[in-house]
Subunit: 337 residues, 2 copies
């Protein structure tokens, strides 16, 4: 079985034998340890090159106690927001020689804790996007996961860096925008009920109605998918509002499509806003007025925080805030007289 003439991977021992030195020396050379005679080093390099030796990362990880990999837990990889985060984290991490292991919890929040734990065991740290996890579960889980970076969540225990988007503020801006255009009857097409960012939007809307007592705000159950937005079309069409705040761009696009099929024109008959400013938001017709989340900075900053905590367990753990800004496009206009 240990037949080395057959297809066994070339190991450090093979290089050592070929260069006529010990394992240890080969290891030293491969890791740029300078305490080795340059003539021998050259011989080892040559042997390694001839055999095309590459250190086995698993053995390396075991000895070093680190994998140079981080895990990222997302609720749904088909969601553009998480795709974007994943991509940016991955690129930022790659720049520092780290890789990313993905764990898609498929929106099953009970899986998130398990997946995160498994990921953590395989990786040097975890980036956790768990919008639905209860706060209690999060508080319990977080300490076991360090180094940990949270996206859009925070914990009591302050040693975990968080990156949070101020969803409440963004929705207020969108609401204010509609009011300025003259809308008084406004509806919010909600997101997933237990989503943390949906709750933030609801809080923002509470403030919004305080600031503008003249508006009449109603809530229509929605979701965070195209289909959810699309299926809400009838409810939206008959609700009497002239301006619709939709949970996110994806649902807004579903709604946009549904309305167009019903002959309702946007923005002439109804103003629609999205949320996120995902890449395609500008490509709808009309372009979607939305709150732009500066998602690009988010991924790379997440990695920066992660790196700091990997290097130094007690690094500072600030909560980074991201302010969405209004992106006004064609889907909003003054209401019909």
């Amino acid at each position: 079985m240990a037949d080395r003439s057959t297809r066994r991977r070339v190991g450090i021992g093979d290089v050592a034998a070929r260069a006529g030195v010990s394992h240890a020396t080969v290891s030293r050379v491969m890791n740029g340890n300078t305490t080795v005679n340059s003539a021998i080093a050259a011989r080892v390099q040559a042997a390694a090159a001839e055999l095309k030796y590459k250190p086995n990362p698993v053995g390396r990880s075991l000895a070093l106690g680190k994998t140079e990999t981080i895990g990222i837990v997302v609720p749904d990889l088909s969601n553009p927001t998480f795709q974007s985060i994943l991509r940016d984290v991955s690129i930022a991490a790659a720049r520092d020689g780290y890789r990313v292991l993905i764990a898609d919890s498929s929106e099953v929040s009970s899986e998130e804790a398990i997946l995160a734990g498994e990921a953590r065991r395989r990786c040097d740290g975890v980036v956790l996007c768990a919008p639905r996890m209860s706060q209690d579960d999060l508080e319990e889980l977080a300490p076991t996961l360090h180094p940990l970076v949270l996206i859009n969540r925070t914990t009591e225990h302050s040693s975990t860096p968080s990156l949070v988007v101020d969803y409440g503020h963004g929705i207020q801006q969108l609401g204010a925008h509609l009011v300025e255009l003259g809308h008084r009857r406004i509806a919010y097409l909600t997101g997933p009920e237990r989503s943390a960012s949906n709750v933030q939007r609801l809080r923002g809307l509470e403030k919004f109605v305080q600031d503008y007592p003249e508006v009449e705000l109603q809530f229509i159950p929605g979701g965070n998918t195209y289909d959810a937005g699309n299926e809400a079309s009838d409810a939206v069409a008959s609700c009497g509002a002239t301006g619709i705040l939709v949970f996110n761009d994806v649902a807004a696009m579903g709604l946009l499509h549904g309305l167009s099929e019903r002959g309702i024109r946007v923005p002439e008959d109804l103003s629609i806003t999205g949320y996120d400013d995902m890449p395609f938001a500008r490509y709808t017709m009309p372009g979607l007025t939305t709150a732009a989340v500066p998602i690009t900075q988010l991924g790379s900053l997440a990695w920066r925080r992660m790196r700091e905590h990997i290097k130094q367990a007690d690094a500072e753990s600030p909560t980074d805030h991201f302010e969405p800004h209004l992106e006004i496009r064609g889907s909003t206009a003054p209401p019909k007289a």
Copy 2:
């Protein structure tokens, strides 16, 4: 340093000590080996549970020679096609207890081989999407990567399963669709020059002009991004063609937007087709006529092939073909008289 009272992770040894048995027995219990007395097994289970013991996957991987992880190399995670593949592969693999490590080559084809090699060393197999890699490089690389599954590429050496979309056929269908609508002057807005799937489209177009000698086909340099499509707007507007075949949906959407800004109406003034049928293609206004690539089957089938080869190195290696089908929406119509 090996101070076990401080924050060291609980290992198999701790469980063994607590249960009053040896490492070996704990390992047997954890792996469901039935040759262990049920009373002792229960004791071990209890000890493991009390200590919250979870086997260290790195040690496990080293002993077992497998990581239960596969790598996936993609040229660009912001491309919806690869996002989709990644997601589906990830979900399918997760169902069998495998994880996915991502490697984004950022469109740098010289990186692809290196990334793939590194991924392979860390994983039990690699799914490779390398549309730009030269055939020679691919032939040289492929044997070193097994188990390997190729997306949209094939190799001579027949032990590598491939999943290929017949891009040539799809573009012929799109062309035929335009001809049937009455278009005679048609342009192809090309993709990246060295992209394998672009080459396939070009081959398909050769056949297309043979089948329809009456059409006048011209080529306009484009790309695979929104911006590339958008920037080609002027060239497209002034080329005299009435129907435009665009490399993919993303570029088509960029073009659509650019044309709309210039006051050119689609499909009244110009018919546009995309390619891929990405999720948003139906949400543009007008909806994009496109060749739908059955991308969902692709990811899960890729995993199935991978699993077969992980289990059994000499498993069959078929080339799976995917036929795009025409998806006719609002962006195509008869040309102006």
